[in-house]
């Protein structure tokens, strides 16, 4: 405890010294990184030790209200995450600054990150609302002072100040107000909708701070939400608390996923991905609260374990993605996807690290994200069977949202990796990109190893580090359902075992590689891409014809475009004008030559001879009639019939959920009604052709 307090003091001092002595900033930054590593190690050791909670009162503070610090298992868990992420950030900033003066805000980063990290650590260690809020406000001020004073920085400052104020106010407010304090304060800081619209750009624009926000501020905000919602002591949270949290979480997860899958630059994708993760966290918190209200400790434990895994994933994989973004920004000179491409040749290490981060964040086995998604699905399955139909519909909607969010994460992975790192360079600058210096590469590699190992060892990690925090938070003696091999939903169900799955996957891959070696010579023969028989590009296009590969702004999953009203408007406006939105090089946003951006919401209209044109003559960009090919828009999931139906279902769910459980005799007619409605929607979809 005293060591951790000393680490915070050391971080603050080192940051201050670096501000005073810019010439020594780098050396001081390495000491700060070492201090943070020490703090992370101490915190992670103290999670497993039994002498918690410990408390300390600082000799400073407001008159009559001294700052009190205390360390219990959840605080130690989040402190370890925060310090580990912070140490990586400081080390990376110091290493890139050492090599290149072009590192964006490098000098500033070595000053601001230790100071902010110190204050964020204080916010976790704080024993009461006043200390936590004050530390958060101090961190916000430090963050603001270190960055350029523009609008997004001001938004960020306001949100963080609001979060601090909410945390302070919640300490004095009645327990019933804590939910709203959690949503308005830390929830907004972490990026829950609705304020996500303003937070997103702030995350993106705050150049160096974006890294801090993604890797450190979001776990801190998650911790504060946990404290506000689960730290009510003997008071059982009301049953309805789970509803707004899960709904907001579901909406945030999808909104963030959609934004991440159509972001134009790396940092927007990072910020939107953070929103998606926060949404999943809020969904898990909502499920945990509902389970606690229904007295189902096993389900509550599963949801809390998912929250802890998601927080850890955000701290490690989110930081890794942010740092890889930084490496690309420094090495290739831009963060616009439209100006990147082909980085795998020049920056193979960074590419692999970015891929590791994205796999960790997406719900793909054996990543951490998959373990979290698995736990969330099983928590949803294990929730009590409410009798009201709308609450059942709500559960269906939540699980469908979970599926959609995981698909969006996978699409975002494909898009970021595919556009930035694979394919051909889209600009000469991207063709001469450089890897970051060796120390920075080592930091990235360490984080990538940690992110991968966290997925494979989800079970042991939950036992070692998740057990004590979950017992403290849930206040019950139920052991979490993790084993050394993996995680399980119940005693009779085997569950998910990432360790054997990974082992088998590696074994199979090795076998396949060996068989391939037997038959194929190991020498590599390469030739021009087949490209469906197109001729080789002319000599003045050394990187190939840019319009024959997917545009950097392309590869937006069509359903993401359909779900978003803004881009719907763009498509429809382009539809009416008969022109396409402009992309890089002033070429239409088409994915390829002669193949306009496919739009699954608009089926190609039959040509005069009744055949469907293969070259997409029915898609908006090439619609010669200019009337938007009336009648060819598919109802799923376009705005036509799908959206009112969805609104109807969502409203019904909300009403039913608020009425609470209990078998009502009148629910049979409602069931019939809903089934009829669903059948009607089904028939209308089928008959729409």
């Amino acid at each position: 405890m005293i060591l951790l307090t000393a680490v915070i003091a050391a971080l603050l001092c080192l940051g201050g010294l670096a501000a005073a002595w810019p010439s020594q900033a780098r050396r001081l930054a390495w000491s700060a990184a070492a201090a943070a590593v020490l703090g992370a190690a101490a915190a992670s050791l103290s999670v497993t030790l039994a002498d918690l909670p410990a408390a300390i009162t600082l000799p400073i503070g407001l008159p009559g209200a001294a700052f009190r610090l205390s360390l219990d298992p959840p605080a130690a868990f989040f402190l370890a995450l925060t310090y580990a992420a912070g140490a990586a950030m400081i080390a990376f900033a110091a290493a890139s600054e050492a090599a290149a003066a072009t590192a964006t805000g490098g000098a500033r980063a070595t000053v601001s990150i230790p100071i902010c990290l110190g204050f964020f650590g204080l916010a976790i260690l704080g024993a009461d609302g006043l200390t936590r809020g004050a530390a958060l406000i101090a961190a916000a001020t430090a963050l603001w002072a270190s960055g350029p004073a523009d609008r997004s920085a001001a938004v960020l400052l306001c949100v963080t100040l609001l979060a601090g104020a909410a945390v302070i106010a919640a300490a004095a407010a009645p327990p019933q107000a804590r939910l709203w304090a959690a949503l308005i304060g830390p929830g907004a800081l972490a990026g829950l909708v609705p304020p996500q619209r303003w937070i997103g750009p702030a995350h993106r624009e705050a150049a160096q701070a974006g890294t801090l926000l993604a890797g450190v501020a979001v776990p801190v905000a998650i911790y504060l939400m946990l404290r506000l919602l689960f730290g009510t002591g003997s008071i059982v949270p009301p049953a309805w608390w789970g509803l707004p949290l899960s709904l907001l979480g579901a909406v945030s997860a999808v909104a963030g996923g959609v934004d991440a899958a159509r972001a134009a630059d790396l940092d927007t994708a990072l910020a939107a991905g953070t929103v998606r993760q926060t949404g999943l966290v809020a969904l898990g918190l909502g499920i945990a609260l509902s389970a606690r209200a229904a007295d189902l400790p096993a389900v509550e434990t599963m949801a809390l374990a998912a929250v802890l895994l998601l927080a850890g994933m955000q701290a490690i994989a989110g930081t890794l993605q942010a740092l890889a973004n930084g490496a690309i920004r420094d090495g290739a000179g831009t963060r616009q996807l439209d100006r990147l491409g082909g980085l795998v040749h020049r920056m193979p290490g960074t590419t692999v690290c970015l891929l590791a981060a994205l796999i960790g964040l997406a719900a793909l086995p054996p990543g951490v994200g998959f373990a979290a998604a698995w736990l969330l699905v099983h928590a949803l399955i294990g929730l009590p069977h409410a009798a009201t139909l709308p609450s059942q519909l709500l559960r269906c909607a939540l699980i469908a949202t979970l599926g959609l969010a995981s698909a969006l994460a996978a699409a975002g992975l494909l898009r970021l990796t595919g556009m930035a790192c694979l394919g051909r360079p889209r600009t000469p600058r991207a063709a001469v990109a450089r890897e970051p210096p060796r120390p920075a590469r080592l930091v990235l590699a360490a984080l990538a190893v940690a992110a991968t190992a966290a997925g494979v060892l989800a079970g042991p990690l939950l036992i070692l580090f998740g057990d004590a925090p979950m017992r403290t938070l849930s206040g019950t003696g139920v052991r979490p359902l993790a084993s050394w091999l993996g995680i399980a939903a119940g005693a009779e169900s085997p569950g998910y075992a990432p360790l054997p799955v990974t082992g088998l996957l590696l074994l199979t891959a090795a076998l396949v590689l060996w068989l391939r070696r037997l038959t194929v010579p190991s020498s590599i023969v390469s030739g021009p891409a087949w490209e469906d028989g197109f001729a080789a590009p002319p000599a003045w296009l050394p990187f190939g014809d840019p319009v024959t590969q997917t545009a950097g702004s392309g590869f937006v999953p069509e359903f993401a475009r359909c779900l978003d009203p803004d881009s719907m408007g763009v498509v429809q406006a382009a539809d009416r004008r008969g022109v396409a939105p402009q992309g890089a090089y002033g070429v239409p946003v088409s994915d390829a030559r002669g193949v306009p951006a496919p739009d699954l919401c608009t089926s190609p209209a039959p040509d005069a001879d009744g055949t469907r044109a293969r070259d997409g003559s029915g898609t908006p960009a090439h619609d010669p009639s200019g009337v938007g090919s009336a009648g060819t828009r598919l109802p799923w999931p376009g705005p036509g019939r799908g959206r009112p139906a969805a609104v109807f279902l969502a409203a019904g769910s909300a009403v039913g959920f608020s009425r609470g459980g209990g078998v009502r005799p009148g629910s049979a007619p409602a069931l019939v009604l809903i089934l009829l409605a669903a059948l009607l929607i089904l028939c209308s979809w089928i008959g729409a052709a």
Binding site: A261, F370, R395, G403, A407, A411, G423, A497, D532, A678
Partner: protein, 303 residues
Amino acid sequence: MTGAAAILAQLLHTALVVAVAPVVLGLRRWIEARLSGRAGPPPWQPWSDLRRLIRKQPVLAENAALMSRTTPVACLAASALAVALVPSFALGMAFAPLADLLVILGLLAVGRIALALVSLEAGTAQAGVMAGRGAALAGLAEPALYLAILALGLLGGTTNLDLLIGTQLQGMLQPLGAAVLALGALALVALAGPGSAGLTTELSGADLALVEFAASLRELVWLDLLIGLLLPLGMAEPGGGPAAWIAGLFAWGIKVVVVTAGLAGLRRVAGDIPPAQRPRALGVAAILGALAALLALASAVAA
């Protein structure tokens, strides 16, 4: 079943499905050809194709690097593991504790994403378009899959495929309507979901063989999954010995042939689902999954 027997069954099953997957694909093509009045290639034609391809030197695209060398292997490994996890003729095999439905579907997703990464690496037109389309279809397919998994998880109390099939074998996956709806959703996703079409244009030789082999394995995963959950008749129960395995093998062979013939007939009559209709089919799958989950929830309350 003792440990040794479980391992033996697992080895037998793995060898069987790996050997049979291309033949099942060839069988479907042969029946389709016969039904449309052509002689058609023999059912083992895919094996001949694979043998021919694997002897060829792969030629990589000029700008292909890391991904093109590693991801075909990853794609095949994920698909092979998925097909090894889905039980065919016996329950209670060595990998049964790992055979979670979410894991199996996740492995299929890993295979799909690996393939999409290869196609994006070449930086060509068609492959990029097809990868984007696959991502879009996956976005519509995943909600349906999760809904079906919710329904099956509520009915069987677990998402472990082995236990679910065991429950169905005893006729305990009740109400049957919910199970059938959920399986309908899975089947629709299998038919209309993202495939590997158009993603392999830049692969050649042994790499192409790996990816095509993986595609046939994925098809068998879906077939085994649906057959097991819908018609587990004749499968050897966890304690069964070699006699039960042989009976299970026969039953599995008959079921696979019948279902393949049925699929071929369906395709002959109704044709393939055209790309423009796939989102709609996946929407229908989501509705089926939601209805299944609602039915399962309602029955759980009534019970």
